[in-house]
């Protein structure tokens, strides 16, 4: 029998029982894919984590878990961390160690994190506006590339912040924000985020607001008490839930700005000396904030990941061995059931060697198909790992 004939007979048999063949191919593919994908995902995640950490030289934030602070600042993961007050940020800026970039990561618009920051963030992350323009005023936002694609957002659209607790009627009011631009993709957590000016984040927090002019006659019903120059408004005063050109001037801040909250601050030191001075400044016992080297925090995290990976790999190998054993059993049973078919081949002239080649070809086709499928899936996993990581972290 010619090689073509053997291949033809093998293919005919495998396609005669498609469900069995596909199950075997899937079992082989999964047995190979799972440990490989785990390896690829972890190594790719480590690369992506380190890359982002490397582009974030230092982080200053409230004392607590350095990994939580790093994940919150780099991946915008929701964390129950205490806040850093604006006075601490101003102190950091005033020490002239380098460029200090504020981060306010608390609110969400649906599932997307709303990041309050300054324009310096976009320069640091090399984030360009692909469509539209950068934020210019209170109430403006730019959205990450993936978020824009998912929600079909474009410049001129509106996006609303989500209330933290729907049952808290006295809580934070949702703010309807103007989308001024869509950022170019940078395959990081930035692609899923909504970016606003820090002051806009404070508006969402309720620290600033705009309302009807209490001096005007139409606001008469909203006045509770008037004593000389002091007007006290009641709860009926109309507050704006969207910043427009018409009401922009009415927005104002309450309380002491020094107490306003931030999540953390990225510090980009001007020099090695400035870096060393900054590290020394915040590592003293009297320091009320902590300074974190994100690369070190990420390294600690990836070491934990590697330790976990070894355990999971061992489990996958055992499972893989069991799956391959089952596949071998399926083949052996299948060949036993096909004894009459094999005898027919012998009667029409096939040798024992040809029969063995026939059986081997069937097994080889299933194995090769499984390997090709698993390798294809690994390639896809590698390309998606960078995008998947922020989603998994959130």
């Amino acid at each position: 029998m010619s090689p073509g004939g053997i291949a033809f007979l093998s293919w005919k048999y495998l396609s005669y029982r498609p469900l069995r063949t596909l199950t075997l191919v899937a079992a082989v593919a999964l047995t190979i894919y799972l440990p490989l994908a785990l390896q690829v995902f972890i190594s790719e995640s480590t690369r992506v984590l380190r890359e982002r950490a490397r582009s974030t030289p230092l982080l200053v934030g409230p004392k607590g878990s350095s990994i939580d602070l790093t994940l919150n600042s780099l991946y915008f993961t929701p964390q129950e961390l205490p806040s850093l007050n604006y006075a601490a940020f101003l102190k950091l800026s005033g020490q002239h160690f380098g460029s200090a970039i504020p981060l306010h990561v608390r609110f969400r618009a649906g599932n997307a994190p709303i990041i309050g920051t300054s324009l310096d963030y976009f320069r640091q992350r090399e984030l360009d506006v692909a469509e539209g323009r950068m934020i210019t005023r209170l109430g403006d936002c730019v959205v990450g590339a993936r978020l824009a694609a998912e929600k079909k957002l474009k410049p001129g659209d509106k996006i609303t912040s989500s209330p933290e607790n729907v049952f808290d009627l006295a809580g934070v009011y949702p703010l309807r924000m103007r989308v001024t631009g869509v950022l170019a993709p940078n395959h990081s957590a930035d692609d899923n985020a909504v970016f606003v000016d820090l002051k806009t984040a404070w508006v969402i927090e309720g620290l600033a607001h705009g309302h009807q002019d209490l001096v005007k006659p139409e606001a008469a019903g909203a006045i509770r008490k008037r004593e000389g120059d002091l007007i006290q408004a009641n709860a009926s005063v109309v507050e704006f839930n969207e910043v427009t050109e018409a009401n922009l001037d009415s927005f104002h801040f309450h309380g002491d700005p020094a107490t306003y909250p931030l999540s953390s601050a990225i510090l980009v030191p001007d020099s090695d000396k400035a870096r060393a001075l900054a590290l020394g400044e915040y590592q003293g016992e009297s320091a009320t904030e902590q300074i974190v080297i994100p690369l070190e925090a990420v390294t600690a995290l990836t070491e934990t990941l590697f330790a976990t990976r070894r355990l999971v790999l061992a489990a996958f190998l055992l499972l893989g061995a069991a799956a391959l054993g089952l596949a071998a059993l399926v083949f052996l049973l299948s060949f036993r059931l096909r004894e009459r078919e094999m005898r027919t081949y012998v009667k029409i002239g096939a040798t024992d060697f040809t029969i063995r080649i026939l059986k081997f070809t069937e097994v080889a086709i299933v194995l090769v198909a499984g390997i090709v499928l698993s390798l294809g899936a690994v390639v896809v996993t590698r390309s998606l790992a960078a995008d998947l990581l922020p989603k998994l972290l959130n």
Binding site: S93, H96, S99, A100, I101, P102, S118, L119, D120, R123, R133, M134, I135, T136, R137, L138, D140, T180, D197, K199, H211, L214, V215, D229, L230, I231, Q232, A233, A235, V237, V243, L248, D249, F251, H252, H254, G255
Partner: protein, 305 residues
């Protein structure tokens, strides 16, 4: 022979000068540094200190007060792109409070003042609830540079920011600052001498923009809300009469800009001499910040004792 030598020397020199100018222009164009300022005094300081290596962007139109001017989104975008953004501070240019500006390149030039900022009096304050602290939507007095010592401090803040941004230009900036400080100190001395005759006598001003000038030179100024080109009708004159009754002995009336001739006459009729003290918040039609301050001093010097 001598004239030929002089011609050759002259040609050589002019060639050198033109080459130098070309070099300077080329370097300037290549560097492409931009500095945005929110008012003319800061733009002037930046021009004096960094005009050789940076372009100064001052977007406010000539016919508008930069304090109340509102930039368009496109203008804000241009300001955002500047390497350095000079704010006056003291709540000047309210648009800056609601605008997204890069913190790293934004400088509040009045943050180093030793004397506290002054608050505009007589504005309605309000509170939103029992727990809320009362507050006013009014601004802090913002014409900081009319106290020429404060102007010098603002120029120093601009120079510090320039040195930080462009360390290679630090020497040139410091030399320019020394010249600028000398000029401002001269004007300050002249202004101090010129305002001596107003001390102890109440002065009425057309607009509440002279608070720092009043404090710096020990004056007593009460303000109206008048514009130089407005028609002084019966209501306006009644307001003036009330202010004059509250400030007996007032003989001088200060305008921000050149008033209408009939307004000068109307004030003369009630015993007030008009004098123009321009805050020079916007780019003057002729001259510069220093010449305007000199004109202010000269106007005061010309007043009868």
């Amino acid at each position: 022979m001598k004239s030929r030598c002089a011609l050759v020397l002259g040609l050589g020199l002019s060639l050198l000068v033109s080459c130098g100018a070309k070099k300077k222009q080329t370097r300037h164009e290549q560097a492409g540094h931009t500095i945005a300022a929110v008012n003319y005094p800061l733009a002037y300081f930046a021009e004096r200190l960094a005009g050789d290596f940076a372009t100064i962007v001052f977007e406010a139109p000539a016919d508008e007060d930069p304090a109340f001017w509102k930039p368009t989104d496109e203008q804000i975008a241009r300001i955002q792109e500047a390497d350095l953004i000079l704010l006056n501070g003291a709540t000047y240019a309210k648009w800056a409070a609601t605008t997204s500006l890069p913190l790293a390149s934004t400088v509040d030039t009045s943050s180093s003042f030793r004397s506290p900022l002054l608050e505009v009096k007589g504005t309605v304050r309000h509170a939103h609830g029992k727990k809320d602290t009362e507050h006013s939507h009014a601004r802090t007095a913002f014409t900081t540079w009319l106290d020429l010592k404060q102007a010098a401090a603002q120029a120093r803040a601009v120079a510090d920011a320039l040195r930080k941004n462009w360390p290679d230009q630090a020497d040139a900036v410091m030399m320019n600052l020394a010249y600028l400080h000398t000029d401002l100190a001269k004007i300050d001395s002249r202004m101090r001498a010129a305002t001596a005759k107003l001390k102890g006598v109440p002065v009425i001003a057309s607009h509440p923009v002279y608070q720092y000038w009043e404090r710096a030179y020990g004056l007593k100024i009460s303000s109206l809300l008048w514009e130089p080109e407005m028609d002084l009708n019966q209501d306006a004159m009644t307001d003036l009469k009330k202010l004059m009754d509250a400030n007996p002995g007032a003989r001088h009336f200060i305008w921000e800009g050149d008033p209408l001739p009939e307004n000068i006459e109307k004030l003369k009729a009630v015993g007030l001499t008009s004098v123009v003290i321009s805050p020079c918040a916007n780019r003057p039609a002729d001259g510069d910040f220093l010449t305007v301050m000199q004109r202010n001093s000269a106007a005061l010097e010309s007043l009868p004792n």
